[in-house]
């Protein structure tokens, strides 16, 4: 609880009831359907979910870099320098204010470093872009700053690497360069969208350690988006599990692995094989696939795939996040008991 109060004081980011609609030829998609979370200073929040659950759209909405046909509603409050708590969604997507935040106070690391860099410019040139835009107009100074960050993220021989093109870098080195680019302005919040998915395990471990170290040095908060529970366990303080555009469970990392409650979270954790338990049962698998987020009926999004569903309860209304103690919040009638207690009294609360 202490932790909770401390967090209230210096929140860096607060997302309130974020909804995103996308107009398509077939109708309106609702990939994000009311997401709430907050990130405190120096905290790492893991946003976990499978592809298509809306985690990347959520992160891009924070920076206002979603495609034009994406309409975002709700509030994204960010503790901006000299603006105070600002609703990023209210800012003009190309306006002065958001541009002073984007890349400077909030920056992002993308999934595939090979795609994130332009092949036409040198690495140094691309890192310098951020430096020149946000820190100094002096090219000499900018280069110095950029080189300093490149060294900091562990790029050996930075002076030589500065003038090289992306194709001369390996995947791991390129990801380091991308991190350097994100950190050059000393951001308050770093959004890392699957930063290690495209990398080998050994390189992945290096990059994760690097990010942890840099977080200590720079004191920034990290929104860590991934589908890999192993990296979540290694990196995050708190975890929010997303399914079909909603957060279905959120808790401190240790708690969520020890005591997962939502059937989806349990399924996710159960379907990862733990080394050292060979020869045991079949892998747990969640039957079926994620439904398309269009014209969703008013019921729990996980209803079709859930093994704990309660007929007459879960299929008539959507559960909201409910406190279940220890900073743990779950959106599931089967876990927390449902409003119509008499109908599911037997199953409720047990799960």
């Amino acid at each position: 609880m202490m932790e909770n109060q401390a967090r209230e004081k210096d929140l860096v980011l607060q997302v309130k009831d974020l909804k995103i609609n996308i107009k398509t030829d077939d109708g309106i998609l609702t990939p994000v359907r009311g997401v709430n979370f907050e990130i405190g200073k120096g905290e790492t929040l893991g946003l976990v979910g499978e592809s298509g659950c809306g985690k990347s759209l959520t992160s891009k909405a924070i920076l206002g870099i979603n495609a034009k046909n994406c309409k975002a509603e709700g509030e994204i409050l960010f503790d901006a320098e000299n603006l105070g708590m600002t609703d990023l969604l209210k800012l003009k997507p190309r306006g002065e204010e958001i541009r002073s935040i984007r890349g400077k106070q909030i920056s992002m690391i993308f999934q595939e470093p090979m795609v994130a860099f332009s092949p036409m410019y040198t690495i140094g040139n691309q890192i310098n872009e951020a430096t020149l835009l946000h820190i100094t107009r002096d090219k000499k100074k900018a280069k110095e700053i950029s080189l300093g960050v490149m060294k900091k993220v562990g790029i050996a021989n930075a002076e030589k690497r500065y003038d090289q093109y992306p194709h001369e870098f390996s995947g791991g080195m390129l990801q380091r360069a991308l991190i350097a680019m994100a950190l050059v302005c000393n951001p308050k919040l770093l959004i890392a969208d699957e930063p290690t998915t495209a990398l080998d395990v050994t390189i992945q471990a290096q990059i994760l350690e690097l990010m942890k170290e840099l977080q200590k040095d720079f004191g920034m908060s990290i929104l860590f988006i991934t589908h890999d529970l192993g990296t979540v366990a290694r990196m995050c303080d708190r975890v929010a599990v997303m399914y079909l555009g909603k957060i279905v469970e959120t808790a401190p990392a240790v708690e969520i692995f020890k005591n997962p409650q939502h059937p989806y979270t349990r399924g996710l954790i159960g379907s990862v094989h733990k080394i050292g338990t060979k020869g045991q049962d079949k892998l747990f698998s969640i039957e079926g696939t994620v439904p398309v987020a269009m014209n969703l009926p008013k019921r729990c999004g996980f209803y079709d795939r859930c093994d704990k569903r309660i007929e007459g309860v879960c299929d008539v209304q959507e559960p909201e996040l409910v406190d279940s103690g220890d900073n743990h919040r779950v959106a599931c009638f089967a876990c927390t008991g449902c409003p119509q207690a008499e109908k599911c009294g037997a199953e409720g609360g047990k799960a």
Binding site: V201, T202, D228, G230, I275, K278, S285
Partner: protein, 333 residues
């Protein structure tokens, strides 16, 4: 398994690619054997030659040197590398491949039915239509595809469903060996579990032999009976899965294992860092290929390449110091 019957015997395979006067050694002197009904995991970082090795075995590439002996269903032992293409066709049916990316390995302009039919048409052009249809229906049902959807195109299917199509296509010829090249890497965890369970069930029912190529060590540990670790085109260690994961004997295996993220925040694994990066296979280091990144490197390692030999029954290692080193692996319950 009472009497393990050898099905594949790979001996001293080399694969060199030449481009712009540079010779890239993708696979160097790889030897191992596979028994019938077994799953062999092949792990390593990207660029270590695991895919090339898989392709050499099915003869999608012509290996530069070496032999791949295959024991056919009728007991005949043939060398895939030496026989001509026509004879090879006879055996192609028995060894099939499942690819990594379910999005790019299926032709978007063919219906699923046609995709699964294609290998049948290619290998049994005289098969009656009705029999073909029967086989396609059977196999589709077996891999869990809804048979009423077979007239649809691949784009109408999700990633997991597409991978099932790829599996059906490989299985329709009743193969004995399947090379799975990163077959579950592109899938989400919950779907991954579905596909792995499916592969497991199929192996049990059809007595399949798998060569399972992957960089995901926990998946490999789950599915494999034996595991080969590759580094820079060579197998550095080959052992039964439990032995390899609990008592690795090669320093590279040890650091690879220590880097695996464990989905439990209370477990603090001590990572053994690997300095630097994989050397360029066009210009490999002298001596032991791993010496540039090895923390146990000696003068001997820099000078001469270690022999790949059986140190314990079934445990092959290529390291000068394998016997003296006490390396750490995972604890088994």
């Amino acid at each position: 398994m009472s009497e393990p019957k050898q099905i594949l015997d790979v001996q001293h395979i080399h694969m060199r690619f030449h481009s712009k006067g540079v010779c890239v050694r993708a696979v160097t002197d790889v030897s191992f054997t596979v028994n019938e009904g077994e799953t062999i995991g092949i792990v390593g970082e990207s660029g270590c030659g695991k895919t090339t090795l898989g392709r050499c075995i099915v003869r999608a590439y012509e290996p530069s040197e070496g032999d791949v002996y295959y024991t056919a269903a009728d007991g005949e032992r043939v060398n895939f590398v030496k026989i001509d293409k026509k004879t090879m066709k006879k055996y192609r049916k028995e060894i099939q491949m499942i690819f990594q990316d379910p999005y790019s390995s299926l032709d978007p302009r063919m219906t699923v039915y046609d995709i699964i039919k294609e290998p049948l048409v290619a290998n049994f052009p005289k098969m009656p239509k009705a029999e073909m249809e029967q086989r396609i229906m059977d196999i589709a049902a077996k891999v869990g595809l809804n048979t009423s959807y077979l007239k649809r195109y691949p784009h109408a299917f999700s990633g997991g469903q597409r991978q099932r199509i790829g599996i059906a296509r490989a299985l329709v010829l009743n193969p004995r060996v399947i090379v799975c090249d990163e077959s579950v890497s592109a899938l989400d965890v919950s779907i991954q579990a579905q596909v792995i369970n499916l592969l497991h069930d199929l192996q049990r029912d059809l007595k399949l032999t798998y060569l399972f190529i992957s960089h995901d060590l926990s998946v490999v540990e789950y599915i494999s009976d034996r595991v080969a670790v590759m580094y820079l085109g060579r197998i550095v260690e080959y052992a039964p899965t439990k032995t390899l994961f609990s008592h690795p004997m090669h320093p590279y295996t040890e650091s690879l294992l220590s880097a695996v993220p464990v989905a439990d925040p209370t477990v603090q694994t001590e990572r053994i860092p690997l300095e630097g990066e994989i050397p360029n296979p066009a210009n490999p280091p002298t001596g032991c290929y791993f010496h540039t990144r090895c923390r146990f490197c000696t003068e001997q390692c820099k000078q001469c390449a270690p022999e790949y030999k059986e140190l314990e029954p079934g445990h092959f290692v290529a390291c000068h110091r394998a016997e003296e080193l006490k390396l750490k692996g995972f604890d088994y319950e």
